[in-house]
Symmetry: D2
Subunit: 383 residues, 4 copies
């Protein structure tokens, strides 16, 4: 039987499938990127494109690292009703309160190979060699790209195994790809110098696209914090609830509920907002996994205002490479009006703060399902 | 300032943003679904659509619950180079070995409200009331929809809090929405009869879109198992490695590495395959989170064949509702040629088995980065 | 060289070691149990006994399951200064407030064997066989002892493995031993009927003496809840702090701090109190592990009283068998003046509530280290 | 009513309880330490002592950090039949194979206070202040004791909270007490310089006596690795099984079983061996919790020998202070014939290796329950 890779282009491949399966793929055929732009870079066996509705939330005011203050629109590609409206409602409340204060720490993308050794002794010796020759190792790793810097390495020995976790600064790119190439260079040197044998260039000590306490505790990609202080009046006027009720939902749902569930996500729905922005701006959708981890906090302040914050230990994003180069994704990035990945991360942080606040406020006053019914909307995203 | 919701359609809203930000959104404007199909159902503040390249992997042979045997194509919407090719390579190896044997268990979608009580005593009494009146509760919950069935409930008391986890059969739909409405009915009855006060209709005992041991241990949505037995020859010819090497990567990376990382994902990259199929077929992309959990196993059998399996405790999917109704997503579902959500889940299981095997085989013989370089492809998805 | 098991009694064995190592073991030689009582039951290669100082905390008033009300003394064997005094202080505050309300659920001791199967199909079939023949299986298991009842079984299949978790009621005994014998009988029947091969009678699906979310979520041994409501005046007079301060420590330390640490212990020091009572009353000290899991909650009520509670999902205890038969341990049990393991568990629950409250109160007003210094005591147990 | 602290000595207090409860506490009265040695240091409300049978396992040959080679006896205080015999059997196999190679890393005891701040900004500033003034902070902390050194600090900010984790070298002492005093000094300085307010000197970022991924990943107290290579013949002669069978139990039980259970203990029964040695040598019994975490690995080597290893990330021990000063505990330490806490840790590592190997070997050939029955022994410790 003819293999799907043998077709010369999307059209002939699509036509083959249409005949083979007796179906019609007209809608999928309507794409506006160039085949040769994506083939060999983003996709194989291309037949067309999937379209996801794009809505815009905001604007939201973001105060970056206590410095700049700017209003941003948030592109959201989603099929989940009520999400964009909910994020927008949160943006309104946050902006009316002076905006979201956001902090970003560039932890670096990580790659964690696993080496097999003769015994504990060889593993310990290999670890020591790496520590002693870190500069040489960095030079070797960085020879693979001018856009990459090896920031640090962490180690673990167990039985006949050495795990190393390399942290890389990859500038504007998400950089998993660069990091893999750089790690390959480092691994070759380590193998040569220590006799340890690399079993897998990824030893799940990265940890890529799997929920893991190591990423929660050590961070991965970007760490994001955002906060806002909202008056009782704004909470009442915009969110139809009270600071006290929001705090109660955060404590009983996001904290106690997640403790009872053995969860790494002490929040309402970070994943919803991240998935929508990631789909809109060409991020790797599997990195929604790391983005679902984190902690929401809320307190009633002495003046009865609401203090509200979010914390994400591992947001994996880039503004060049991967899917960010595609035409519609490029336009969505333009719409965000950001300069580089740090500003991008700040806006994502603000958007999560807004979307999280809006959902928890809605839960706190029980209007959630009502709203959905009224709007005939899906509640599936609502927690 | 004019709010984004005040515009009458996507065009005027888009034009406002283009002027406001002095940008061009031509590509985003090119969408082929009807505005009135998505407004009030999938999205708000619509301005157009994002396009994600669609490739096709397979075919893969799937043996369902030891019954049917059929070959399937797998639609993958992704921007991550090498993924579709890698899944296809796995499909080839699995199909040449007789196909993937897949099992699906319909655990049911869950919704877990949290109630506030006067004290432990009231919480215990409320729990007992629910247990005793489960049938009445089911009748009430099911009054909200003819497509929904309350399967069971689980309970936890801590301090002045009662957490209840309802499991629902929602037929072909993913059903989070239905489940929320049904839970609202049940909650009203519980509040009336027990005096417990619902603080949040979702108490993170669901646990929706957050990684959690409760979902890993009790399951959520669909549980998926898939396995295949591959000969040394097929492993060598198609995957360029050996059973022994694959087993070593599974043990040192997927098992030991994930133990060392405190991960709930003892696998290579389930999330990659799930994200691509979910994006193609209109699933909720935030549910990639639950899909990233699970365990890959591999053994060298006495005859030196490779036994390879995957296990996912919580795959959240549907074939009606949400994004599945959109035109391109509908065509992608047609391309899968499945009848209903159980067959859909089986194919996803087969695809994950294939994609997981292909990646781990590639890691085991160190060709990964080489391949990427040769094809100028991204390795970011490769573990 | 002569083996330690070849000596006829503790005296000759001890003398051999004294000469061999040129040391003096006089103190160890002073024990007041009969050798033949412990040999072949509690210990091998006996040379004497270790003495641990025994203090008494309390009395504490305990309201059992909303029924009985009684005051109890709490025997604590510990070498950690300040612990007994701290628990006593908590007992005073709790008793002055009307006592601790305690609830106990007998989940049952668990044993979880792992079976190896040909493939997923055989594992699924074996699971179904067990479900269908549960009564027969129970009869077989219960044939091993008249003090044991098989309550239920839970199952998990992954790859070529079937895990089964048996829950047993073992009356007054902790019962791990009985459960193992009973499981052996059940396993033989399962092997014969299903062809599944038991690889280990304990497959860490028990999970015995290891921290695990499965035990947290499903419970093991006894589940314990305890609560008390304390007035501002009692909190001030006895504990030198305020309800607000206690709540703040619970939220920032026990909840947020444990979330940030990836802990299964959302509490201050359950393990301290459990270790002291276990050592005093002959429990298995390795079961302190399960006892360290659980959640403390605190709330300021509308009348400004403090609501305080503890929850332990897995307290593993017995009042017969194991070390409970030893002379000093027997006397310590007498001192508790309890009838059976449920009342014993209730008192332990009350003691944990008291000890937990006292520590958190002390932390909340910063007197901890001061107190230790004043008394020249060890703070090592204090959190 | 008269309070237990009002009695002048153990005798009068005991007599009061005997009359009050109409019981006899003769056995408890028989203790051979001086009251004034323990009062105000180890215990309050003293009435006597609990006696735990002491057995001796070994000797076991230990190769320390690839340097010294020495044989050690292992004192085990336990009431769990078969444990000492089982550890001894493992010692025999390991010693016959040349001994256990053990590595110890002194991570340091940790104390992790939580500070409340005005907002994220103040928390970030406080963190930066600590980093910049670490030397000054160390000097201040170390002023509290000449036996303590501040090794490093780690930080986390979430909402209005700053968590700091201090690592201390406390020489021969377990040192939790010293660490608390030193932390108090550091905290005062931080409060003065940064305006952050310490809410609790322990913020569960320590994490003391609770299972936690932070301790697993970062280590606490001492990290311990031990390994041995055993021939098929020794495995057969001493342990009645084969390398292949042991490896199968490690993979299906310790690895897969613990993954399925959400456990932090990927081992058989570290906690049993640790509890017995801790009780014998005066360690804090609540620290068995940290000791239950870790990973056992096993491999069949190319020559068919068995490679076997254990790894504990957090063993909390000392050889001075706490309960180590008591007479019987002092003798038990003498019996170990060790110089200092590092050598002590090495021997504990060797003992765990031996006890773990013996249990898993027994499970692998199904003799466990049989043996217990034959010896009328308890199987409760056997996994």
């Amino acid at each position: 039987m003819k293999s799907l890779r043998d077709f010369k282009d999307a059209k002939t491949r699509r036509e083959f499938l249409e005949k083979e399966l007796n179906i019609n793929l007209d809608k999928i055929s309507g794409f506006n990127f160039a085949e040769d732009q994506v083939i060999g870079r983003n996709i194989e066996n291309l037949i067309g494109a999937i379209q996801i509705p794009l809505g815009v939330a905001g604007p939201i005011r973001v105060k970056g690292q206590g410095v700049s203050v700017k209003d941003y629109y948030i592109p959201c590609a989603t099929t989940e009703g009520a999400l964009v409206a909910s994020v927008s409602r949160g943006c309104k409340a946050v902006t009316a309160s002076g905006g979201a204060t956001v902090y970003v720490e560039n932890v670096g993308i990580t790659r964690g190979p696993v080496f097999k050794t003769k015994d504990l002794g060889q593993a310990m010796k290999a670890e020591i060699w790496i520590e002693k020759h870190f500069k040489e190792l960095a030079k070797t790793a960085q020879s693979s790209s001018s856009h990459l810097k090896l920031l640090k390495a962490d180690y673990r020995v167990v039985g006949r195994n050495l795990f190393v976790r390399f942290y890389f600064d990859t500038q504007e790119a998400m950089g998993m790809n660069m990091a893999t190439f750089a790690t390959e260079e480092a691994v070759s040197l380590i193998e040569k110098k220590t006799g340890a044998e690399c079993v897998s260039i990824s030893g799940n000590f990265c940890v890529d696209k799997k929920p893991a306490w190591l990423n929660f505790i050590s961070g991965r990609g970007k760490k994001i914090w955002a906060e806002a202080i909202l008056s009782q009046k704004i909470i009442k006027d915009v969110l139809k609830t009270t600071p006290k009720k929001v705090v109660e939902v955060v404590e009983r749902k996001c904290h106690l509920g997640s403790m009872m569930s053995g969860s790494l996500g002490f929040n309402g729905h970070y994943a919803n907002i991240i998935a929508a922005i990631f789909a809109a701006t060409g991020q790797d959708l599997a990195h929604v996994v790391e983005g679902s981890m984190g902690i929401t906090t809320a307190e009633v302040l002495d003046n009865d205002d609401l203090y509200f914050s979010i914390y994400l230990p591992a947001l994996i994003v880039g503004t060049v490479g991967g899917g960010t180069n595609l035409p519609t994704q490029q336009e969505a990035l333009k719409l965000m009006n950001i300069r580089g990945v740090l500003e991008y991360s700040m806006v994502v942080g603000g958007a999560i703060l807004a979307g999280e606040l809006s959902l928890l406020a809605s839960l706190s006053e029980g209007s959630l399902a009502k709203a959905h019914r009224k709007l005939g909307r899906s509640g599936k995203g609502k927690a």
